[in-house]
Amino acid sequence: MNEFVYLPENLDEALEIRASTGAVPIAGGTDLMVRYRRGSGIPPQFDFPVVLIGKIDALRYIEVSADNIHIGSATTLTEIFMNEDVPQILKLAVGEMASPAIRNVATIGGNIGNASPAGDTLPPLYILDAKIVLKNLNGEREVPIEDFITGPGQTILRSDEIIYEVTIPIGNFDKIYYRKIGTRKALALSKVSFSAAVNYRGDVIDDMRFAFGAVAPVVIRSREIEGEFKNITFNELKNREGEIAQKYSPLINPIDDQRSTAEYRRKVSLRLLKFFIQNVI
């Protein structure tokens, strides 16, 4: 019931509450408050205690260290979008999320914690090799994002942990590409999204990464497939377009829902991949 809403003053308090009660974190609340809404004007009803962490300063920062960019989990999408150090491909995705009002409260930690297959920060984070730093009273652990999210709404977060930070290795890409196909041009959830980042020397590909959103239980990124197409020329890449698409095809396992069809999601994922290979790079 609603009796258990915890309002910790700082991170330590929040972690203590987590440890002792298992209260579920609410940051911006734009997923949780909506999911548990009742009538308008009536507070949502959770069947579990909640702990409000959105205003904890220790979770709201964007910092640059020697090798990494560190984004505190309660940093809002607007703050991320306005920041100069955040990798461009993440900003492209954030800029197309929700609406300005929602972006002012929605957080990156919430998008990750929500672990929706349609979460729009996730494909860029997969591409960027982002790591999630989890904290509890005893310390912290760091896990790659693809290990953190295990299924729709499923993560390895323990009941005494919170998402503390997203760590993104500093790097540059020669070419990035991001496409979100939503139900409309703004304030829309993704039917499909496609992200790509490439590094090259001359016309030889050094590193090429792809991620597909909303077309499988979790974001699709395959280092294995990427590995097979390293150190080839653009021309060769274009010639092997069909082969690449064929390799991704079994990974793309979309569903029919109220926003689109499995068939469309599958086709458009592969169309975007081919389009990128043929026309963008």
Binding site: R38, G39, S40, G41, I42, S99, R179, I181, T183, R184, K185, A186, L187, A188, L189, V192, Q258, R259, S260, T261, E263, Y264, K267, V268, R271, L272, F275, N279
Partner: protein, 711 residues
């Protein structure tokens, strides 16, 4: 804009709405007020075997069919759906009972705990099922709410003599109004008299329905409109249902009762635009002239009749489009399905049929190898020609001028009918044209049945008050009618009073629907004002009442559908420019040029608001407003999933107006509000078709379908 009346004034309701001062029904508080929550059917079709109510705390009540003092059927055209389910349910969301009590949260909790036991009946879920006779009919023997036919000329002969026959089948989907303020009412009972406050279009509809529901004398039913946050037809018939429920609850509990729908609930259970399937056959002679149309129109009416009868009629009378077709046969049916009832929505049956006829004309053009503009102009109706129902087009028709104006604005003639390159190689661009009309006022003999009464009252301080039942719902009635009166009386705009209607104070000037308010009611007020001007010095205080009847020239046979279905017509012409992304199938509607003939505009800025809004609503209808039912349940039931255009989806809308004054309209005004929605969908569909070179026969045009076509 050549007329003085067209010059714009500041809307009278603009400030209070912008400043957030306007009070909506959600803001109203009454002493001891109870909140209501509706318990609804969870299945599309069933007998109710048992309803288990949890223990009710003190002060909490359940209100159901047994509490209805009068007739448990909402009076619309016929006695229609029950206020509270009467042993059976026919759609998901059908109201079964209300839980009422002082705390909304508690009321919701109790409502959630009510258990209904059903014995399911095989439901009818599609148009095909509705007509197949497979399952037990929902309505009558044939499962059609209405089944009409009319014919002009001799269609059989014409087809026998045809050189070419072109056929087409067209489908349109649901559309949800998504007014910004959901449905809501409050009912207050003083022991003798019930008063309804609420968001509504038609106070007198509610008054009449409630007198029967509550078994009260009409004088003991008072209906007061409060600021209404949008309606688009959605608050024409639906509020009668919830007003009745709240009123029954208020009488039972002897306390004020407020019933406001939440957004998702509103989307699930309030009326929608009728989905449709229309089949056309066109007979074309050796000279390339369309000599006959054979038309079959089917509207999905949902579980109850509602307004389907008249919605269908307007659709049927639009079947020839703006064209002069000598022979036409139109068969129309509104079928019953176990889904949410469909009803009034801006355009009222016409958008579905104009989509079909305009698509058909594009198809004929391509069959004949003719430019679609030329084909249209060759067939355009003109003054003196007969309409589809054999009425006479009495006023000048300015279609050629409108098309010429469009050409000046958009340079479209050279671009139409082909696929053009977009800004990037994978983007294809196309242009499409639509021509359309809207019959002004009620269909058929409707206006004569209503016989609207409008009153003008001179107060002793020299102010003049408008007393009509017409409502402001965002369209600008408060401003437009004041202007008509002020301009006629030559008094200051601010010296005209016009309050939101209260049935205890205003006569029945008819509902605020059918784009009739300015033309019909404004026309009555103009006459009243003219008389008042002459009698101005007669007394300090007096009233003038005017009653509507159709101009004498009108001939109409409601049995055979022959004659003048409308006193006059407003016209529109739209050109759409779209881009289609051939990788993703996404459509970007870039630009819409629109020319309208609404007689004379009563206020240029108000009219532009209507035009832009209508075009945008039509754009949504054609593209992103997807609503589909699966097993009787609407899949897109949240404001997240039912997507209307945001500012980023809205095309650039450029509009222009052609003066064509109507003798019987105030200052020459004809109807305007609905017309503006009608043409966007066919123009956009034509543009998409041209861009990708594949036929488009269905709206909304989904990227999912485009990708199938492109593959």
């Amino acid at each position: 804009m050549s007329e003085r009346i067209s010059m714009s004034v500041e809307r009278v309701d603009a400030r209070e709405k912008i400043y957030g001062e306007a009070l909506y029904i959600g803001d109203y508080r009454f002493e001891d007020m109870l909140f209501a929550k509706t318990v609804r059917s969870k299945v599309p079709r069933a007998k109710i075997l048992n309803v288990k109510i949890p223990a009710l705390p003190d002060g909490y009540f359940v209100v159901d069919r047994d509490d209805v003092p009068g007739k448990n059927r909402v009076k619309i055209l016929v006695y229609d759906q029950p206020y509270f389910a009467d042993g059976v349910v026919n759609y998901i969301g059908e109201p079964i009972l209300l839980v009422v009590g002082p705390e909304r949260e508690k009321v919701f909790e109790i409502a959630r705990k009510v258990e209904v036991e059903y014995e399911e009946i095989p439901p009818i879920l599609t148009i095909d099922d509705a007509l197949s006779g497979k399952n037990q009919p929902i309505y009558g023997d044939d499962n059609c709410f209405v089944d009409y036919h009319y014919e002009k000329g001799n269609v059989k002969n014409a087809f026998a003599n045809a050189e070419t026959i072109v056929e087409g089948e067209y489908e349109t989907g649901y559309q949800e109004h998504l007014y910004i303020e959901p449905q809501g009412v409050a009912a207050v009972f003083d022991g003798e008299k019930i008063t309804i406050y609420g968001s509504m279009q038609c106070p007198y509809y509610i008054k009449r329905a409630l007198a029967e529901c509550l078994a009260l004398d009409e004088k003991n039913v008072r209906v007061v409109q409060v600021t209404t946050g949008g309606a688009f037809g959605g608050k024409e018939e639906y509020p009668s249902l919830i007003a009745g429920q709240a009123a029954v609850a208020a009488m039972k509990t002897q306390k004020p009762v407020k019933l406001i729908l939440d957004r998702t609930e509103d989307i699930m259970v309030s009326t929608k635009r009728h989905p449709s399937r229309t089949r056309y056959r066109a007979a074309i002679d050796a000279d390339g002239k369309v000599i006959a149309l054979d038309v079959d129109i089917i509207f999905d009416g949902g579980a109850y009749a509602g307004l389907s009868d008249v919605v269908l009629q307007r659709g049927m009378f639009s079947a020839a489009g703006v064209y002069n077709i000598p022979n036409i046969s139109v068969h129309g049916r509104a079928v019953a399905t176990n889904k949410v009832p469909t009803g009034a929505f801006r355009g009222f049956g016409a958008p579905q049929v104009f989509f079909a006829i305009e698509r058909l004309f594009d198809k004929i053009a391509s069959k004949l190898g003719e430019n679609p503009v030329d084909l249209r102009l060759r067939h355009a109706i003109s003054q003196g020609d007969f309409t589809a129902t054999g009425g006479i087009m009495r006023q000048p028709v300015k279609i050629p001028e409108m098309v010429e104006k469009l050409e000046k604005m958009s340079d479209f003639r050279s671009k139409i009918g082909k696929s053009l390159p977009g800004d990037e190689p994978h983007i294809k661009r196309g242009y499409g044209l639509s021509l359309f009309f809207h019959g002004c006022g009620f269909t058929g003999n409707g206006e004569n049945i209503i016989a609207a009464e409008a009153k003008l009252k001179k107060h002793s301080d020299g102010k003049v008050e408008i007393l009509v039942a017409n409502t402001e719902m965002g369209q600008g009635a408060l401003t437009a009618l004041r202007k008509i009166v002020a301009e006629t009386l030559k008094i200051q705009f601010d010296d005209v009073i016009y309050e939101l209607p209260d049935t205890d104070r205003v006569p029945d000037s008819g509902p605020t629907v059918a784009s009739r308010t300015t033309m019909i009611v404004g026309g009555l007020l103009k006459k009243a004002a003219e008389e008042m001007r002459e009698r101005w010095n007669e007394a300090d205080e007096f009233e003038i009442m005017k009653k509507y009847h159709h101009p004498d020239y009108i001939r109409w046979n409601q049995e055979t559908f022959e004659g003048d279905a409308y006193p006059t017509y407003s016209f529109g012409a739209n050109v759409a420019e779209v881009d289609v992304d051939t990788i993703t199938g996404e459509i970007a509607v870039r630009h819409i040029w629109a020319v309208f003939d609404v007689g004379i505009t009563i206020d240029e800025v108000l009219m532009r608001g209507q035009a832009q809004g209508g075009v945008v609503q039509g754009t949504g209808y054609a593209t992103i407003e997807v609503m589909e039912a699966q097993a009787g349940r609407l899949l897109q039931s949240t404001i997240t999933d039912y997507t209307i255009p945001t500012t980023k989806d809205v095309p650039l809308v450029e509009c222009a107006f052609i003066d064509n004054p109507y003798e019987y309209g105030p200052f020459g005004a004809k109807c305007a509000g609905e017309l503006t929605l009608v043409g966007a969908a066919p123009a956009i569909a034509a543009a998409v078709e041209n861009a990708i070179g594949r036929e488009i026969v269905r709206i909304p045009i989904k990227p999912e379908e485009i990708i199938k076509k492109l593959d």
